[in-house]
Subunit: 338 residues, 2 copies
DNA sequence: GCTGGCACTCGTACGCACCGAGTGCCAGTC
DNA sequence: GACTGGCACTCGGTGCGTACGAGTGCCAGC
C-alpha cells in the first residue's frame, strides 16, 4: 500500500499534468504544492510510483505523466466529484427549460455538456424499452394501407407503414385502435407483447390477418427502436486534444461516427452511478487514448438512457464528472415534467 | 483572354496539385503532361497566370498552387462533371434501397456521400415548406389536452401538445379531424393557412376556442419546422485536410456544429443545378479554406431540400460533383417511391 | 514565339554544439 | 529509518551554419 504522501504526490502530478499538459518534474511539484518535503524525497516517491505503474516518463530526463492506472487510482481514491457553482446550475436549468420537444431537449443537452466540459458530448435518446406507451394511433392512408404511430411518455414518436393483407374498414379500425389503446396505454414497452397477445382472436376472421399484421409491426417497432439513437456534439473540442493530435484525433472521429461503438460505450456504463472508463479500459481501440465519463438519466427513479463525454485521458475528472452528473439530473427533471 | 495552352497549363496545375498536395513546378508539369512545350515556356505561361491571379507561389522558389480564382476558372470552364462508374451507381442504389424510414434515408445518404467523396457530407432533411400533407391526426390525451401529429409526404412526422381552453368531446374531435383532413390532405404546406382559415366558424361556439387553438398550433408547426434539420457525417475525413491541418480544422469543425451556418450555406446554393463555392466565396469565415459543393434534391421535379459536401479547396471537383449529383438523384428517386 | 542556358532565391535537411530540466544515486543529517 | 543536499549524467530541444536542390526569372539565340 502506498503511503499517504505518495498518494498526495500522485494527486499533485495528475493535477499539474492536467493543467499544464507537460510532464511534471520533482522540483516543480514541490514549488506548486505544499508537500513539506524536498524534491529529492519526491523523486524517491516518484520512483516508487513508477515501479508500481502509476506514472511513467515519456523519455529519460523528462518529467512524469500519469498512466491509465494512475488516473484510475486518482479517480477512485484521490478525487471527488466537483459540484458545479450555483450560477452554473442556474444556467443549466435556464438553458434546458427553453426546450420545446424531445429533439430539442437532446440537442440542448449535447450543446450544454460540450460547452461545460469543453469536450465531446454524447447523449442517447431516451430508450423505448423502459418507457411507457402514451398512445398508439392507427391511420388509414388507403383501403389496404395503414400507418401506425407510437407515442411514448418521453415524447418520442415512431411511425411505420403497414400493408394489410385485406381491406380494413373504418369501423374495424376504430375498434382496433380503441382496444389497443385501452390495453397498452400507460404500460411499459416490455409488457406490451403479453398484453396484446390475444387481441386478434376477438376480431372477425376477415380482419384477423390485418390485426395480426398491425400487432406484429407494433412489436417490431418496439424491438427495432430499442436500437437507440444518439446525438453528439462539441467535436471541435477535439482540437484541444494535445500536441501530437493529428494522429490521435483521426481514430476518435472515426469512432464517434460509428453509432454502434458509441452505443456500446454508453451501454457498458453501469446503470446506477457514474462510470469512468480511462484509456485502454475502453474496448474500442480508437478510444484508447481517451476517457469516457457516462451516467444514466431518467424521468423517474430509473435510468431511461445515458449521456456522457469523451475526452483525452488527460482531463479534469472531478470537474467533468460534476458537470455530467449535474446535466443528467436536470435533464431527468425536464423529462419528468413534460 | 487566356490562350488555349495557358488554360491547359492551369488545368494541369490544378490536377497535379489536387493529386500531390504539393506546389507544382514547370519541369514536373512538362513531364507529367503532354503539353508539347518546354519548361521555360510553361514558366512564362505561369508568370502570366500568376499576374492574372489564377495561381500563386507559397514562397519564392517554390512551385505554384491554384488560387480560389484559379479553381473557379477550372470548375467553370476547364472541367466537367465526372459521371460515376456503373458499379458505383449500383452500389449507391443498393445502399439506399435498404432504408426503412426517413431518418434512415438521410443517415444512409450522409454516410454514402462521405464515403464516395471522402469528405464531410451534409444532408438537409426534406423541407416542410414544399412538402404536402399526408395526414393530420388529433389525439385526446386528457379532457383538455390534445396531441397534434402531422405527417408529410416525405415521411416526416411532427407532433405538438395542445392545452385546450375548454374540454373537447370525442365527437367534436372526430369531426374536426375529418374536416381538417378533407381540406389539407394532399395539399402543400404553403396552402394550408388559406385552406383552414374559415374552419372555426362552422363549429359550435363552445368548441370554437379549441378549434382555433388547434389550427394556430398547426400553423405554428408548419412555420417553426421550416427551420430545417440536417445531418452531417464523415468529419473524420477532415484529418486528410493537409499538413498544416490543426490550424485549419478547428474553425471548420466549429462551423459544422453551427446548424445555422450550414443551413445558410446550403440555402445559398441555387435551386436548380449544382452550386460550387470555393474558398473565400463562402460567407462564413471558418470555411474560407474549404469548398462547398451542393445541389438540391427532391421527390418530384422540385427540390425539397439540399445536400452537399464540404472539403478542402484542393479537392477533386469533377469527381466530387459527380458523386453529389448522383447521390442527389437517387435520393430523389427513393423519396418519390415511398 | 519558343527554347536552352544561367544566375539567383530560398526553403529544407543535416550536423553540431550548447543548454537545461530532470533524474538517480550517495553520503550526510536529524 | 526517513529525509535532504549535492553531484554526475542523460537526453530532448534549440539555434546556427552549411550544403543541397527545386524552382524561378531573364536573356540571347533560333
Amino acid at each position: 500500500m502506498l503511503s499517504e504522501r505518495r498518494l498526495e504526490v500522485l494527486r499533485a502530478i495528475v493535477q499539474d499534468y492536467v493543467g499544464t499538459e507537460e510532464p511534471v518534474g520533482s522540483k516543480a511539484l514541490t514549488e506548486r504544492h505544499r508537500l513539506g518535503v524536498s524534491p529529492a524525497t519526491v523523486r524517491n516517491d516518484m520512483a516508487v510510483l513508477e515501479d508500481e505503474g502509476f506514472i511513467a516518463q515519456p523519455h529519460t530526463s523528462a518529467g512524469r505523466i500519469p498512466t491509465d492506472k494512475g488516473y484510475r487510482l486518482f479517480v477512485d481514491k484521490l478525487a471527488g466529484v466537483k459540484p458545479l457553482s450555483s450560477p452554473e446550475r442556474r444556467a443549466i436549468q435556464n438553458f434546458l427549460d427553453g426546450a420545446v420537444d424531445l429533439d430539442d431537449v437532446v440537442g440542448r443537452t449535447v450543446r450544454l455538456l460540450a460547452q461545460l466540459t469543453r469536450q465531446v458530448a454524447v447523449v442517447q435518446y431516451p430508450s423505448l424499452t423502459r418507457s411507457t406507451v402514451r398512445h398508439v394511433e392507427l391511420l388509414s392512408l388507403a383501403p389496404a394501407r395503414l400507418m401506425l404511430v407510437l407515442i411514448t411518455d418521453t415524447g418520442r414518436v415512431e411511425q411505420r407503414m403497414i400493408d394489410c393483407p385485406a381491406p380494413f374498414g373504418e369501423t374495424s379500425l376504430a375498434d382496433l385502435r380503441a382496444r389497443l389503446n385501452s390495453r397498452v396505454v400507460g404500460r411499459r414497452f416490455a409488457d406490451v407483447p403479453r398484453l396484446v397477445q390475444e387481441l386478434p382472436e376477438s376480431f372477425d376472421s376477415e380482419d384477423r390477418g390485418t390485426v395480426s399484421t398491425v400487432l406484429s409491426t407494433l412489436l417490431e417497432t418496439l424491438v427495432e427502436e430499442t436500437e437507440e439513437r444518439l446525438m453528439i456534439g462539441g467535436t471541435s473540442n477535439l482540437t484541444r486534444f494535445g500536441h501530437d493530435f493529428p494522429v490521435m484525433i483521426r481514430p476518435v472521429l472515426e469512432a464517434l461516427e460509428e453509432q454502434v461503438v458509441l452505443l456500446k460505450l454508453l451501454g457498458e456504463a453501469t446503470d446506477s452511478g457514474m462510470t469512468v472508463r480511462i484509456g485502454h479500459e475502453n474496448a474500442h481501440e480508437g478510444l484508447n487514448s481517451t476517457s469516457v465519463v457516462a451516467v444514466g438519466y431518467g424521468s423517474g427513479d430509473e435510468a431511461v438512457a445515458k449521456l456522457g463525454v469523451v475526452g483525452p485521458t488527460r482531463m479534469d475528472y472531478p470537474g467533468t464528472m460534476g458537470a455530467v452528473r449535474a446535466v443528467a439530473r436536470y435533464v431527468g427533471q425536464i423529462l419528468a415534467e413534460s
